[in-house]
């Protein structure tokens, strides 16, 4: 078959710079052929090589005494949770595919992260999702399109996760112009395994057979490379899909078959085929194993005829795995996959020469040193613009907001509104482990396999990161940890998803660098190593780059079931307290954004030392049985947090509180978003004890009032604002539903 010649256009269309091309010639000692060029282009892409972000990612703390598999070593990190058990978890983005085809884009994102987890030998047990869209309110610009994206993404996640039988037990969802046309779809998956079950993605054992298992390869996901291979298949260009279609049913079978197979001991190495499918899995396993690999494309199960080596190697068909089998155990593999009605083929062998050798029958179509594609991929130290901190907001320039009207207004804004419309579409109960499901600070899940109570939260704040990237980085880590603390959990580790614009722009790269440094600093403070993550760059829409949006998912452990704590007030007659430092300003607050349409100010800084002390002291109080509920103040400040405490339980519980006079304006006091503040409730019998406990540990603790009645009333300087819970509930619980019921939904493509 005739391959196109390598011209400068072809090279640049592959996103390869002249310098990189010279480097390729140096490695091969010759010009690459077309197929090899394709291989280098995907392996040296940001997606696979992290060439623009790797130096920054090195700043994350990655060690700790619970770490069993370090970040970057394998598909996902693994953490010890005691008694010989461990967890593997990771977050991954599917932003661009979701923008093109929200349903399938989001669905295949879920499929990909699940494969990353069971590739480690872990049984996936739950999911979380972190979502961002353009405005969806009635008359917002582009609302109709944004609603369709939201509706498509949510049903895509539901379709895949529900079908596999994984509960989606938590997440976060934001709405802002900056994400119009470039939604963020980050999905997290956690799995559990015994220490001795950890599987490796390394091609070990010269002569071991290499198996391809799972779905047949088609021309999926090739549009990215289509331009370059146009000459190859002019006719099929038209219907060559940019977006892969997921098959959760196949994935479920693949999951069960792979775990069964791993248990049999026949596997020497295993690796999922994600981005750059066959290419990435073969050279990565080889380079991890310090070995070579030799495969014949003619043996690969295919969905279509006449696929070229280039197409087969770059295809991103879903639900496929590469398995290195211990010699002599081939039949065991064939039997497992027969039982599960899955295609399975021996396509090659592990070799000792460090070369990735690809054949099409008798013809060798590519021959590349495996490590040159992975470890030796180029790394760039991008230039960072320097930064002048934003002006502190002049509060006088903000007309004082009518507090009475502002609270229901904020609670009805899609970003703060209850996300029930979303999480009810997810089976968040399957596996019978969702002890605290969606709707509280952190979700708590009983992993029945190991009897452990795991807590998890995913957080990010693009607005704060835009104003102050370092603080944005610190803050999302601190909030995730705080959410865990509120649920009674000790944080163990974190995984991050860096959603940024084009890193070639110095100001964007600066955002990336500073945000990462902020996250790293915070992860050190909380003693939570980063076990892995994902980088999504070039998130831009016609009006420019998105607000920088680092997202962190943190996982914690609750040793004693009795310590599981929720955010909702339990019953009338309890004391209500505020923990944490006083602060001021509406800088970077949702009130300023929603009520005044301003993204301004210098967000209050997270004091990590104080934050750590606060969270430790809260956990001690929870263990001492002093705490009935705990909720951190996030978007919407103390007023929104109080409302959530009243409204988020099975039954609404009212409260009458008085805020301490910090000499602030009413709207400032109620809605400023200083981090590090937590609202707790406790039994009156413990009043003295509780006050002493926090005071003795140097944690500011202030008595606010008591739970009672059917209203929320907040007093300040002798003036009292009162809201009926019924009204607040309707605003908060109904907002998203009402908006989405009016959606002209496209017919789901399944």
């Amino acid at each position: 078959m005739k391959e196109p010649a390598i011209t400068p256009e072809v090279i640049s269309k592959h996103g390869i710079t002249p310098e990189e091309y010279e480097r390729i010639r140096g490695i091969l000692g010759r010009d690459p052929n077309f197929t090899e060029l394709g291989i280098f282009s995907v392996m040296w892409s940001e997606h696979c090589s992290y060439k623009n972000s790797r130096p920054e990612l090195k700043k994350f703390p990655v060690t700790g005494d619970r770490i069993l598999v370090k970040a970057g070593e394998e598909n996902a990190g693994v953490l010890d949770v005691g008694h010989g058990w461990a967890v593997a978890f990771k977050i991954e983005s599917h932003n661009h595919p979701s923008a093109v085809e929200p349903f399938q884009g989001a669905a295949t994102g879920v499929g990909g992260i699940i494969r990353d987890i069971f590739t480690m030998g872990a049984r996936p047990v739950f999911l979380m999702d972190s979502l961002r869209f353009g405005p969806v309110e009635k008359d917002a610009p582009g609302a109709a399109g944004n609603r369709r994206l939201l509706s498509g993404v949510v049903s895509g996640i539901a379709h895949y996760g529900n079908c596999i039988g994984l509960p989606t037990i938590g997440g976060e969802t934001w709405f802002d112009e900056t994400y119009a046309g470039n939604p963020l779809v980050n999905v997290f998956c956690l799995g559990v395994l015994r220490h001795d079950q950890i599987a490796r993605g390394a091609a070990k054992g010269i002569g071991n057979p290499v198996f391809y298992v799972g779905a047949e390869t088609g021309r999926d996901g090739l549009a990215g490379a289509a331009f370059a291979s146009r000459e190859l298949t002019e006719e099929s260009k038209e219907d060559r899909p940019a977006v892969q279609v997921g098959d959760p049913f196949r994935e479920k079978l693949l999951l069960e078959a792979c775990l069964e197979l791993l248990a049999s001991g026949a596997v020497a190495g295993i690796q999922d085929m994600g981005a750059a499918g066959l290419t990435c899995s073969t050279c990565e396993t080889a380079s991890r194993g310090g070995s070579g690999i030799d495969v014949d494309l003619d043996l690969v199960p295919k969905r279509e005829n006449g696929m070229t080596p280039y197409e087969i190697l770059l295809s991103e068909s879903q639900e496929r795995m590469l398995v290195i089998v211990k010699k002599g155990q081939e039949d065991c593999v064939r039997q497992s996959f027969e039982k599960w009605d899955l295609p399975c083929a021996e396509i090659g062998k592990v070799t000792g020469d460090g070369i990735m050798r690809i054949r099409a029958g008798s013809e060798v179509v590519a021959e590349i040193p495996a490590s040159s594609l992975t470890d030796e991929a180029p790394v760039y130290h991008r230039e960072a613009a320097d930064w002048t901190p934003p002006e502190v907001l002049d509060i006088a320039s903000v007309p004082e907001t009518d507090v009475q009207a502002a609270l229901p207004l904020l609670l009805a804004h899609p970003t703060l509104a209850r996300k029930r419309w979303i999480w009810e579409q997810y089976d968040h109960m399957v596996r019978n482990g969702s002890v605290v499901g969606p709707g509280s600070d952190a979700a708590v899940f009983l992993a029945r396999e190991c009897g452990k109570f795991l807590a998890a939260s995913v957080d990010g704040n693009g607005l704060v990161t835009r104003l102050d990237p370092r603080e944005g980085g610190r803050r999302c880590v601190a909030e995730a940890a705080r959410n865990l603390a509120c649920s009674g959990a000790v944080p163990l580790g974190a995984t991050d998803n860096l959603n940024f614009g084009n890193p070639h722009k110095p100001e964007i790269f600066r955002q990336l660098r500073d945000a990462v440094e902020g996250m790293a600093e915070a992860c050190r403070a909380f003693g939570t190593p980063v076990t892995g993550g994902n980088v999504s760059l070039y998130n831009e829409n016609p009006s420019g780059p998105i607000d920088p949006t680092p997202v962190v998912a943190m996982v914690g452990l609750i040793e004693d079931e009795a310590h599981i704590t929720r955010q909702s007030f339990r019953e009338a007659g309890d004391d209500v307290w505020l923990l944490g430092e006083r602060s001021a300003g509406l800088d970077g607050s949702q009130l300023l954004l929603i009520a005044h349409r301003r993204k301004e100010g210098r967000p209050p800084q997270t004091d990590l030392a104080a934050e750590v002390a606060l969270q430790n002291t809260l956990r001690q109080a929870i263990r001492a049985g002093l705490i009935r509920s705990a909720h951190d103040c996030a978007e919407g400040g103390i007023a929104a947090a109080l409302a959530e405490c009243c409204l988020s339980g099975d039954q609404p519980v009212g409260a009458e509180v008085n805020l301490p006079d910090d000499g602030l304006r009413y709207d400032e006091s109620l809605f400023h978003e200083a981090p590090g503040r937590i609202i707790i409730s406790s039994g009156p019998e413990n009043r003295k004890k509780l006050e002493r406990h926090f005071a003795d540990n140097g944690i500011p603790v202030r008595f606010l009032g008591a739970t009672c009645g059917k209203d929320l009333s907040i007093g300040l300087r002798g003036k009292t604002h009162r809201w009926e819970l019924d009204g607040l509930f309707r605003a908060w619980d109904g907002a998203l539903q009402d908006l989405m019921d009016t959606v002209a939904e496209p017919l789901a493509a399944h």
Binding site: N162, C163, G165, F249, L253, Q425, H428, M429, N432, R448
Partner: protein
């Protein structure tokens, strides 16, 4: 007490059923692979929830042709209690073991939430431990749970007291508002003519532990166990 829990490709509540039966009721429960041609020797058979064959074409449309379903039919005819939960209910309808069909939810979306059920029949092996009118809190999790049948069939179900559960509110009122998916007559679960086959959309196996929010689902399994005990004596 020996339970068989069927396992189709795509079943995903099979483990929850097995664990619940073992851990909460000390029962003996075994998975039975869909390629098996016999389910003899069990006191009850459960077709669990999930997405058998991806629910492609229609929920349960392909699973009904699994070899094991012929065996299930034989056991049902022999009088062995057969419980279909969610996707299991859909499969039993497609297989003709129960009348009617389950179609797309009125609201079009998948719904997962706690709902209330009113117990309408306490003479079946699945509901014996309950009282008529008793309200149960049990979760649903389905996209196609809207029960449909033609008028004659509905009439027969009503007349012959074959409606086991109806969707209702916390106080037991059966109303349009308390109907999560548009099911005709608020039907959440029905029995076959002999009364030994029950199909229900809600998930009793998810409501057997305090920590999961409700223990009302225990009633179904306790009834089954009692009936089996009675049968032995």
């Amino acid at each position: 007490m020996r339970f068989a829990v069927l396992r189709f490709p795509g079943s995903n509540c099979d483990q929850d059923c097995l664990r619940t039966l073992r851990d909460n009721f000390g029962a003996h429960a075994e998975p039975v692979w869909h390629k098996e041609t016999s389910v003899a020797g069990f006191d009850a058979i459960i077709a669990p929830g999930g997405f058998s064959y991806g629910d492609y074409l229609r929920c349960g449309a392909i699973a009904r042709y699994s070899p094991v379903m012929r065996a299930v039919r034989e056991e049902a005819e022999r009088g062995t209690p057969v419980l279909g939960i969610c996707n299991g209910f859909q499969i039993l309808c497609e297989a003709g073991l129960l009348p009617g069909a389950l179609v797309r939810n009125r609201g079009l979306h998948f719904i997962c939430r706690q709902i209330h059920l009113r117990l309408e029949n306490n003479s079946s092996p699945f509901t014996r431990a309950g009282l008529i009118g008793q309200v149960l809190r049990v979760p649903v999790a389905h996209g196609e749970g809207c029960y449909y049948a033609d008028n004659d069939t509905l009439q027969r179900l009503e007349d012959k007291d074959r409606i086991a559960f109806r969707y209702c509110d916390a106080d037991g009122n059966v109303s349009p508002e308390s109907n999560p998916n548009g099911s005709l007559h608020n039907i959440a679960g029905i029995l076959n003519e002999k009364g030994n086959v029950l199909g229900m959309m809600p998930h009793p196996e998810r409501a057997c532990e305090e920590r999961l929010g409700s223990t009302d689902g225990r009633l179904v399994f306790e009834s089954l166990i009692n009936s089996a005990m009675a049968a032995i004596q």
